[in-house]
Amino acid sequence: MITLIARFIAALNANSRPGEIAAGFACGILLALIPFGNLLWFLLFAVFFLLKLHGGTLLFTAVLLKLFIGVMDPLVDSFGLSILTQPSLTPYFTSAMNTPVLPLMEFNNSLVTGGLTLGLLLWLPLFFGGRIAVKMYRKGIRDKLVSSKIVKTFEKIPWIRKLTTAIQKSTAIYHGWSS
């Protein structure tokens, strides 16, 4: 987990493309919304693995959000259920369910369908929002944060020191953090 946090922070501060981090963030949320352990999840993960997005951010967002995703489940469940019970879509779902491989995606589960649809709908806003946020962070917040007293106090905590070392290993650009 420390490595994931380190990779995420390193990416924020390093010369990584903001779009990569934002895509990793949006895809991480998509993966978090879909319950783990079905073919759809693995397929999406494989596709994301091939694309140039920040893996650390993706995993960090996915793992972090998994811890709290239960709060959103009622919403995702009702959203997924409303899609699955649409009479006009029933023939497509039925024929998909009768194919050999597609049922392994467990799309008949409201959380899977709801999570996928919600994740796809949110993907573009999250991507653009994430990009803006990274740029804003790099422009204004980062330097202030580095020179703040709170950070310097935190640096003295042993596990934060460990995290800092990890970040240093991960980044090739940033120097201000440890100075």
Partner: protein, 713 residues
Amino acid sequence: MNSKKRIPKPFRKPISPKKFNHQIARRIHVQSEVDFLESKLTQDAQGNYLLNTEKLGKDDLKRLTRLSKAIKKNKGLIVGWKATILVIILAGTLGFNYFLKNKLIKTGVESYLQGIFQAQVELESPDLSLMAGTLSFKHLSIADAEQPLQNLIEIGQSTLSIDVGRLLSKKLIINEASSREIQFETPRSTSGALSASERGDTENKQADTVGGENISGTAVGALEQAEAIGMEIGRDSAESLIQSYQASLQSPDLIEEVNARYRQSLQKWEKRIETVQRQIDSVETRTEQVLATDVSSIDSIENAEDYLSNLKSLKGTAESAGETAETAYSAFQEDTRYLGESRSSIEEAIKKDIDFLESAVGSFATDTLQVVADTAKPILRTKFDTLFEYSERIGRTFSQMKSKSTQKQSKFADRGRSGTTVSFPLKDYPAFLLKNFELSSGTASTGNVQTLTISNLTGDQDTWGKPTSVKVSSDTVGGGMNIQLTIDARKQVESLLSGEITLNSVPISLSEGLNSLSINSLAADSHNRIELSVQPDLSGWGKAFIKLSKLEFTFSENAHAIGEALRNILSGIETTELEVEFNFSEGQINSLQVASELDQKLSQKVANYAEEQAIVAAAKMEAAIYDYLEEELATNSMLSEELGQEGRRIVEETKTAENLAQLIEAEQEQIKTRQNKIEQHLRDEVDKQADTLKDGAGEAVKDLGETLNIPSF
């Protein structure tokens, strides 16, 4: 030069402003880094950026190196090395698929079969598709090692197609298994003998294969196991299944337990009833003895008291024996009530066991699949080593995902996130299904084709929802045969077996048993169609439609009248149709009804024959009558002449008679005239006399009146 060598590649040469903006500055996303780079660059007269190497320190070089790596990393949307691997894998797969796979199969199959048959084997256009689960080839010929210019066997277009997706659900669905145009011992244009080098190769490969088999001893074991199971099932499937699943059955143990209880009860009750019986016998004997005593013989009070006490004791014993018997009876009822209950639980257990065995029969194919999988495992492990391990892992993950989809919680699943599962109607598949099986031998060009087709073969028709159908057809130059059978073992279906058998142009020849009809032989072509419907209790009905064409009779030369008539009647009949309806039960025909148009045809022919014969007979009769009447007619003419003469004589006589009559009449006139004359004469005389008298009487009366003085006078 040394310092130049250390400068990262993008900054070694002057950079145009366009290149700097598009390929460098756009890929640096940290402002401090942009500032650092700009501080190290100077612009020449053309505006190109140049790295000021004099200002560069050791740390600056390091930073530039890291920056150049970051610039390179921020290029494009796809990770280069991952995409390369993917492209290599895809290209490799496609290349293998299109250029190598089928060639490998061709070479492998041909060399393997050559090793077995020691003769040339040619496989044409093999095609394997793992994703589609299809293996097919266009033509396969195996030469005969002993007769090189002859093929042992030739097989035409053959296909094996399996539903790969359903294998994930442990269901073997064979979409198609077909082999067409199978021919044996066909001539070859080239010699099928192997050259010396080919023989050597195949022998070596054979040796390798044997070695391989030794290594994979488990595979051989599994094969033997599969064979044993197959033989066992084939020989005595029901008993084998019951034995294999005996551990899972409830009823045998329960029956054994209840039977033991029965035996115990039986032993116990035999003894107990014997005891009660003895007790009651003893009381009976005593009672007889006591009651045999003559009461009048009791002469003292003591004897009376003794007698009374005897009676009392006897009563007590009898009552006690009665109570014992009643108690025993109650206990017996209790025992039998328990055994009765046990019987109903046995019936229930048997029902459950039957259901279980039915499902076990349905899953037999799954077990067979398991055996096949066990057989393949060691071979695959030897051949693919690590790759096989990985595939096993993937397989395990798939099964875990599958187990989750069947509502079983997977270890991968998110804990606490269940959601709502919406059920969509699923088409269930049986554990084993052969959708289409076809075998055909011969070719259309030779005009001799035999085909066997089986559709929807499964042990679980209720799940598949379709009956099994079997078609056998044999088309020959002269005729052919078609059999269509439908086996429907589904619940609530009336007909277990229904079918149609058609036999076309079957020659029939009879030469015995028809002599009594003056028929030497009978030959015909028959076209037969039989419809059958069999119920599960082996009762049913059937219909046979028989059409005889090209009917030919040969008759004996010296035929009697009936034979002659038959010759005439039957000679014109070339075709006829028969319809036979039959019912059967318990496998035996119990009613038969034949309807034929032959009756009508024969009636018509007989009628025509009779009419012809009648016309002939009438003509003959007319002629005979004319012959017969000729003399009579002569006599008749003579008599007629004679009669004419007589007539003429009569006419003459008549004339004579007429003359005589006239004479007589004349005479009569004469007589009459005479008579009238006489009468007139007489009348005149009378009148004269009367007048005379009258005058005399008048005178007398006048005299008398005057006498008597009467005034009127």
